[in-house]
Amino acid sequence: MSGNANPSTTPVKSTGLHIGEPAPGVAKKDPILVADGIVRQFGGLTAVNVDHVEIPRNAITALIGPNGAGKTTFFNLLTGFDQPNEGTWSFNGKSLNGVPSFKVARMGLIRTFQLTKALGLLTVMDNMKLGNTGQRGEKLLSSLIPALWKKQDSEIEVKAMELLKRFKLDAKHEDFAASLSGGQRKLLEMARALMTDPTLVMLDEPMAGVNPALTQSLLDHILDLKTQGMTVLFVEHDMHMVRHIADWVIVMAEGKVVAEGAPDEVMKNPAVIDAYLGSHQDVDLGAVTGRISLPESK
């Protein structure tokens, strides 16, 4: 576990994830999530129109693209929070068509939200406990008899404390989540997601609004997930972070996947530069879309 706050830590990148030339929709050696022909329209506007995309297992994949590219909508579609007009998609070989969001989550596909959904009026510990699945005390009738769930609840509490320690939130476990800072809430949301023992973690802009002092530890946590055998898919505007930790990058623009590849290759791809910058192609992508730029990148 790297609690190290030094940004120069070089993570080990997974390579050789794809089969053949990196291009939009390229096949992966071991895909965990496969989406085909996903179309989502709002009124007359097509927000997402993805022909084919595969997410590699046990790797960190970044989903990038300019504002309005349909990244968050695509996230919502994959996790059952929104239903596409057409298309099929599957997780671990199981079709997710029409599966409601809570069942998707139970299958091990857990997401976080762009605007953090820490439950402010619950304590940090209660937030964590909510993440645990299969609790007997969450059933209406057995909840009436504490003897049935007390033991399991204390076990969950131990597990939650361990995770909170890792995320340096253990001192705050009795506080209401509303009293945490924005960055701490992001951490809490991620820790809570881990309570569900997920196989694929989808993070929607994990860095947005996070104090720079916390970013490194957040990055380390994301890298940790891979070490522990999980798969990560995240949406991010911060190109510095994408370059630093992503093994694979998928670029979306105007609802479509326009490019895929390893971070360094993709950043040089003219289609990507075009998508982000229009005609200003002589500016380096990383420099422009780094943490300071794009004032509306929320």
Binding site: S101, S143, A178
Partner: protein, 326 residues
């Protein structure tokens, strides 16, 4: 002005069946709104079902009183299901309008002459409490000491009501302090967050709607046991009064609704006697005593506004834990 007499009559409301009925309904509303965030504006409908189910169970179906009581509670479960299946997916204020409309539909159905044979239409139902009172183990006579002096019949209603209230309160206390209650509080704040953690939000909301609705029906049942049943009791104002009692005590607490109902009724009774007495004594600038009797309702309205704006967590609520979500 007979201040002592007024205080005496007021004290009689501390454990009056109507106070117990309000406490039960407010407790149900606490489950709905305080813990699950469901904006139920149709509590009067659930109460009406409890009362009419009980009375009609005896008069129309000839059931023994305890089975008839279950009919009322069962009707509330069915009503919650009918209301909940389509509406729990809707946004909060839509639920408010659907529930208020549904409760009013129920009341109009109880009022119409079309079903007069079963509902007694505008006259309501009465004369069904015979068997319930025959089951009264207390010998005839009056018991207690002033101001808590009442007939055996009233004591019987009171004891049954308090028993129901005690069991209900204990069950709700257990529920909201369990992992089940934790999920419910999570839903109150952010459904999507709870969904993303693999919980079936709809089921939890439905369970909460049913439990709160049954508590409301229990309130109606206690009212029906203590007097007659009439649709004029179950108007939307009743729902608003129960909201006032709930918010007074604290929406996201278990004991707040009970204390809130107590305060509500004690103040209602006190002011309802005080103002007419003051008017008769000529202290209210020429208002008649009938006019003065309205003042207490005006105060209820003003109090509701003030509580919601200045102390939304109620008297017993913890400001950090609940004010109003969204």
């Amino acid at each position: 002005m007979d201040i002592l007499g007024i205080l005496n009559s007021t004290a009689g409301f501390v454990l009056a069946p109507v106070t117990i009925a309000y406490a039960l309904a407010a407790l149900g509303l606490a489950v709905h709104f305080g813990f699950a965030g469901l904006l139920n504006m149709g509590m009067a409908g659930f109460m009406a079902l409890g009362a009419y189910g009980y009375a009609m169970g005896i008069l129309s179906f000839g059931l023994p009183w305890y089975l008839a009581a279950l009919v009322g509670l069962g009707a509330a479960v069915v009503f919650a299901l009918i209301l909940g299946i389509p509406t729990l997916r809707l946004r909060g204020d839509y639920l408010a309008i659907v529930t208020i409309a549904a409760a009013e539909i129920l009341r109009l159905l109880f009022l119409t002459k079309t079903f007069d044979e079963y509902t007694g239409s505008a006259d309501g139902l009465f004369g069904y409490n015979g068997e319930f009172q025959e089951a009264n183990p207390i010998a005839d006579g009056t018991y207690g000491f002033p101001p808590f002096e009442d007939t055996a019949a009233t004591w019987w209603v009171r004891i049954v009501g308090l028993l129901i209230l005690a069991i209900a309160t204990f069950a709700v206390w257990r529920l909201v302090n369990s992992p089940w209650g934790r999920v419910l509080k999570g839903i109150r704040e952010d459904e999507d967050a709870i969904r993303s953690l693999g919980k079936n939000v709809f089921t939890y909301k439905m369970q909460a709607l049913i439990i709160g609705g049954v508590l409301g029906a229990m309130g109606g049942l206690v009212l029906a046991m203590s007097s007659n049943v009439n649709q004029g009791q179950y108007v939307t104002s009743l729902t608003f009064f129960i909201w006032t009692a709930l918010l007074l005590g604290g929406a996201a607490t278990v004991f707040g609704p009970l204390v809130g109902s107590l305060i509500f009724w004690v103040l209602q009774a006190f002011l309802g006697l005080l103002f007419p007495a003051m008017a008769e004594a000529g202290l209210l600038l020429g208002l008649t005593s009938i006019q003065a009797a309205q003042i207490k309702y005006i105060i209820v309205g003003v109090a509701l506004v003030l509580i919601v704006v200045f102390r939304p967590q109620g008297i017993f609520g913890n400001k950090k834990e609940l004010t109003f979500v969204r």
